[in-house]
Amino acid sequence: MMPETEKRTMQLNMGPAHPAMHGTVNIGLELEGERICGSEVGIGYMHRAFEKTVEHRSWNQVVPYTDRLNYVSPVINNVGYALAVEKLLGISVPERGVWIRTLMCEVSRVTDHLTCNGAMAMELGALTVFIWLIRAREILYGLLEEATGARLTVSWSRIGGVSADLTDKFLAGLPGAIREVRRAVSEGNTLLTGNRIFIDRTRGIGALSREDAVSHAITGPLGRASGLDYDVRRDLPYLAYDQVQFEVPLGEHGDVYDRFMVRVREIEQSLRIIEQCLAKLPGGPVGVDDQRVTLPAKDDVYSSMESLIHHFKLLMPGHGIRPPAGEVYQAVEGANGELGFYIVSDGSDRPWRIRVRPPCFFAMAALSKMIDGGLVADVPPVFGSVNMIAGELDR
């Protein structure tokens, strides 16, 4: 007679440090063989107290901290924060500032989507696609560095404008970069979208229904892949998005393949917006001429007493920019969903509270739903398709 064997599930921790989990997150898996019968997602490994720290910084000092939220598309964070404070102050940036902000946000979105799709392809073994997409991203990063002075920690936006106008070199290099991105994306598509292995590994994997996406408040490419037709740029226009033409691509099945394709199509739409911005770029100043927020020109600071006083009035602790007491919510379309800044001011030179609505927080809350019932080998592609950015998730 055969002895009774005991059947047990195995517990396995993926992360917070795991080669396939780019980002610090822990997934506790409950396994039955290779099948996942339960999972729990643990976050907080990159919590750096963003929301606490910024309560002790002046309004413009917060800008560098916003870079470090979603560090793959920092310009969008910069601009989102600046828009929120400008809304509180009741100021509007001049037209050229608005357009170049729009342009830079879209360049940033393309870099983010290229990174996400490239990394996801890499995790499925398609290293070539990763290299091609990242090479295209490098060209854009080079341009971002030309415009902002940094690749990732750009700190580009200012309250009331941007740190500097776009350079001629940037504008001259952009059309070529757009061509390169288009070529890289189309080459990557040739390798992947008709590829049997890629399709088998992504079709029907990690599917999320539209109802789940709504209930989890998942926006961005992830929500759109599930058929949730919502894009802040179209539904709640900010910057110049109501003056450019673009489509909002949607998926049907909400699986990893659809998310990949939604991002591919969004790259094309973003490139379209960039081209329209280039064509319509108006002249004029890039920042407001408002003494409450704008630093005086350096020449004046060195030569006139009034400007020197003005300079110090804006920079000294206890002085500085002082929005009126009140609260404001500004949503922008981040690269992975609705990025919201909820700001409360008490009328002083420091924010009373800044709450960031991190788009991938909501997606990570639904990760268990996406991977349960699947195989361990499906965790990396599903996780990759969520586009989690730990800096934004944990703040």
């Binding site: 976050i43 907080g44 919590h47 107290a49 929301e51 606490k52 720290t53 309560e55 002790h56 809304k87 509180l88 009741g90 509007s92 940036v93 001049p94 037209e95 608005v98 789940d212 709504v214 209930s215 989890h216 408040a217 949730l228 037709d229 919502y230 539904d235 709640l236 110049a240 007491a325 009140g326 609260e327 404001v328 919510y329 609705e338 919201g340 909820y342 409360v344 001011s345 008490d346 009328g347 002083s348 009373w352 509270r353 709450r355 609505r357 927080f361 909501f362 990570m364 809350a365 639904a366 944990d394 703040r395």
Partner: protein, 189 residues
């Protein structure tokens, strides 16, 4: 650039407020519009009822965000209680966006959980508990999410000092001074 219509300036209360006021006269305190948002202030214990009603009759299917503001020592105006919990709802069909706020006193920092109605409430409420110590009755597993279990206190409360440290592990290398300590002069024993 065309001027944004209102820059979040308060405007008269909108349709959602009036309907809620008619439906729950004793619960709804105040309301106004900050286009594109509608803001309604309610009694804290009734959030589940109001949210359920919004879902039924306004098709508000998503809890987009939940956050807390600690108004201890706030200089920008008088506040009815120390905390204010802020829920942010959205209907993807009509595009309607509603922010619900409720004052929550320090002595009774508990509100009903919405985790039965919205999947996103689970983690949002855990974060509010972790950062502010706001309790949510009916939450299936209210525990810390960003901080570690051994952490004591709620870091986003205004009375939690910015520089306070709670190291988890004892010093591994006894010769190395703790972080932030004054460096000792170099030299012999």
């Amino acid at each position: 650039m065309k001027q944004q219509p209102s820059h979040g300036i308060r405007q008269e209360a909108g349709p959602v407020f009036h309907e809620l006021r008619g439906k729950f006269p004793r619960i709804v305190r105040d309301g106004w519009q900050e286009p594109p948002l509608e803001v309604v202030v309610i009694e804290k214990d009734s959030i589940a009822r109001v949210a359920g009603y919004l879902r039924e009759s306004w098709g508000v299917a998503a809890l987009m965000d939940l956050t807390v503001v600690d108004y201890q020592g706030y200089a920008g105006g008088k506040k009815p209680a120390r905390f204010e919990v802020v829920w942010y709802f959205q209907s993807f069909e009509s595009g309607r966006r509603i922010r619900i706020k409720a004052a929550v006193p320090d002595t009774d920092p508990v509100v009903p959980s919405l985790s039965g109605l919205y999947a996103s409430a689970d983690w949002l409420e855990r974060e509010a508990w972790d950062m502010f110590g706001i309790g949510f009755t009916g939450h299936p597993g209210l525990r810390r999410i960003l901080m570690y279990e051994e952490f004591s206190g709620h870091p986003l409360r205004k009375d939690y000092p910015l520089a306070k440290e709670q190291p988890l592990v004892e010093q591994v290398h006894p010769g190395v001074p703790p972080f932030g300590a004054k460096p000792k002069a170099l030299g012999g024993e």
